[in-house]
Amino acid sequence: MSGKGSLLTLLLALVLGTFAACGLLSPQASFARTHPEGLSAGRPLCSECHSNETMKGGFKTFASFDHTPSFVGNHRSQAIQDSASCATCHAPAFCTDCHGGKVAMSPSVKLGDRPDRISPHRGSYLSLHRLEARMDPTGCYKCHGRANNDKCAACHRRPQ
């Protein structure tokens, strides 16, 4: 790590330590490490069990975490704000099926036995994407723009 990097790291630890020391931290107990109740298969509706309560320390209702089509389609907004509550159920390995700097295979192949799951793309995408991606390459950038994309570079060498 470069000098500046380690300096920042140290700073970070100091800042957190300071918060703790100053009693700035919220006194509320942390979430359970794993969700205390087993769930049935498929996407959960939190409000079925938690009704309209507000999540501890969150100021948001459990119902707003119901895994509806709109929650799933917009999960990034929730992920940015509520990583601690997601972590009660989702280990990071759940997310790496679709997100990661270097992912082994297309999510639709990895989850080939789960047609009920979402997928950024399906089918033989190497041939399909040539027809589809024109409309919106910006959506592809999120996962392919800064990641391991040597596959893509094999064809996409020159500015188009």
Partner: protein, 469 residues
């Protein structure tokens, strides 16, 4: 190479932990076989085998300390490889994450050290370093991370280009501060800096910039469960060279992306989205400038709407519409319906969908005289899953039909399809085996057959809950 050495101490730690504490090991082994027949080429066979492996070790001395590792490795067992690894090798792999985590009993405070992914700032970053988060009094939350970005070198970069990439992205740090307001929602402000050595400061000034400095604003307004507005705006705050006189200065707003959702009852919901992205700012930091072109003319904007009827437990019908506008290409509309049906009392779920895309013609090259071809198409999808005892089955078919068969990317075929069927057997609670068989035809291959054998396992640790992992 480097990764493997970094891995060693972590595995040693895992082994040490295994002697006493709660250790769980999970993973899957996927063996694939690919056969494709492309007119004019020999039939090709690929046989990659992939191993995913995760280890969680809890209670390392204290119940607050834990270790989490996940990685994969792939080897191609056949002669040809569908894709060669970075330097033409037939094996590749990655440590997706490997970190020590310290969780405080209050405030959801935690520290992570090692390799992890964060999404608390602007995008998703894979970092070797340290991260921390905590809830503070008064509804504030803070999170921050710093370290070295995991680099993805492009094998086509050579010489100084390759060195520039590592030189520019020498460290990464980000932070977010959020405020939660009861009966209102949450507001966040984040900052990200990726790399510090700007391209222009290089000993040999470079055209290509891999660094980013961005500020993000995110919000969620949900005073009642029936209403939810969320989204973010990201600003590019990096210094850029002066815009030449006569040219318009590119916007410093990387993106606006907002969604509003109204759900008056559990049986009905309405969603609307708006997005706007400016290429120079949005594509900042890309390692594939030829594709994610920061100099593209104009901007990208989109809006969409969705309607959901019913619940996932029985019948759910979703209608969606999205309008996109990309200045150099034109406006496109995509709309359609999906239905998902669960048969109560049995373990059968099925779905169907149909979508229409009407899109403008595209030019085969920037040359205005060149051939133009249509990209409009329709797509249909039909799938089902059935579970009975220890057995499970699924089927998934998609079909594409293109309007303009002169599109050069179709190689004369105006339809494509893929059908995937799968059967699985949950042998024990820890162990599942499944086989997928895919068959299809597309522009590249007259026929493509893909077989996949999947072994999934999980040993030790608490029984799977929620999202399994």
């Amino acid at each position: 190479m480097k990764t493997r050495f970094r891995l060693l101490p972590l595995f040693a730690l895992a082994a040490g932990a295994a002697s006493g504490q709660e250790v769980s090991v999970y993973g899957s082994t996927l063996a694939q076989l690919w056969k494709s027949e492309t007119p004019g080429f020999d039939k090709a066979t690929y046989a990659p085998a992939t191993q995913f492996l995760g280890i969680d070790a809890l209670n390392l001395g204290t119940e607050r300390l834990s270790l989490h590792l996940f990685g994969w490795g792939m080897a191609d067992l056949a002669d040809q490889s569908r894709y060669n690894g970075a330097n033409g090798s037939k094996t590749q792999g990655d440590l997706s994450f490997g970190y020590l985590q310290y969780r405080f009993p209050t405030a959801n405070a935690e520290l992570k050290a090692g390799r992890f992914s964060v999404n608390q700032a602007v995008g998703i970053e894979q970092v070797d370093g340290l991260s921390a988060r905590a809830d503070l009094r008064g509804g504030f939350t803070v999170s921050a991370f710093a370290g070295q970005p995991v680099l993805y070198k492009n094998p086509l970069q050579t010489g100084h280009e390759k060195n520039d990439y590592a030189f520019q992205r020498n460290w990464i740090a980000g932070a977010r501060i959020g405020l939660r307001v009861p009966k209102v929602g949450e507001f966040g402000l984040s900052y990200l800096q990726d790399g510090q050595n700007a391209a222009k400061d290089l000993p040999r000034p470079s055209e290509t910039d891999y660094t980013r400095r961005q500020v993000g604003l995110d919000l969620r307004i949900s005073p009642v469960a029936a209403f939810d507005l969320s989204g973010r705006t990201v600003f590019d705050v990096a210094k850029h060279p002066e815009t030449p006189a006569g040219e318009t200065k590119p916007s410093n707003i990387a993106e606006h992306d907002y969604q509003v959702s109204v759900r008056p009852t559990d049986l009905f919901a309405l969603t609307g989205t708006v997005t706007e992205r400016n290429y120079r700012a949005f594509y900042a930091g890309t390692n594939l400038h030829s594709l994610f072109n920061q100099h593209e003319k104009g901007k990208f904007s989109a809006y969409g709407a969705g309607l959901v009827f019913g619940t996932a437990a029985k019948l759910q019908v979703t209608a969606d519409f999205r309008h996109t506008k990309r200045e150099i290409y034109g406006e496109a509309n995509r709309f359609g319906v999906d239905a998902k049906w669960a048969v109560a009392g049995t373990k059968i779920v099925a779905g169907a969908g149909i979508h229409q895309v009407s899109a403008p013609d595209a030019a085969a090259s920037p040359d205005p005289e060149s051939l133009r071809y249509g990209t409009s198409h329709s797509e249909a999808r039909l799938w089902a899953m059935w579970e009975t005892g220890k057995l499970s089955f699924s089927g998934d078919g998609i079909y594409y039909k293109f309007k303009d068969s002169t599109n050069p990317n179709l190689y004369g075929k105006d339809a494509m399809f893929e059908l995937v069927v799968s059967a699985g057997y949950q042998a024990t609670p820890e162990f599942k085996v499944a086989g997928d068989l895919a068959y299809g035809a597309n522009a590249f291959a007259k026929s493509e057959t893909r077989g996949l054998l999947r072994l999934e396992y999980r040993f030790g640790g608490p029984a799977a809950k929620g999202g399994k992992k």
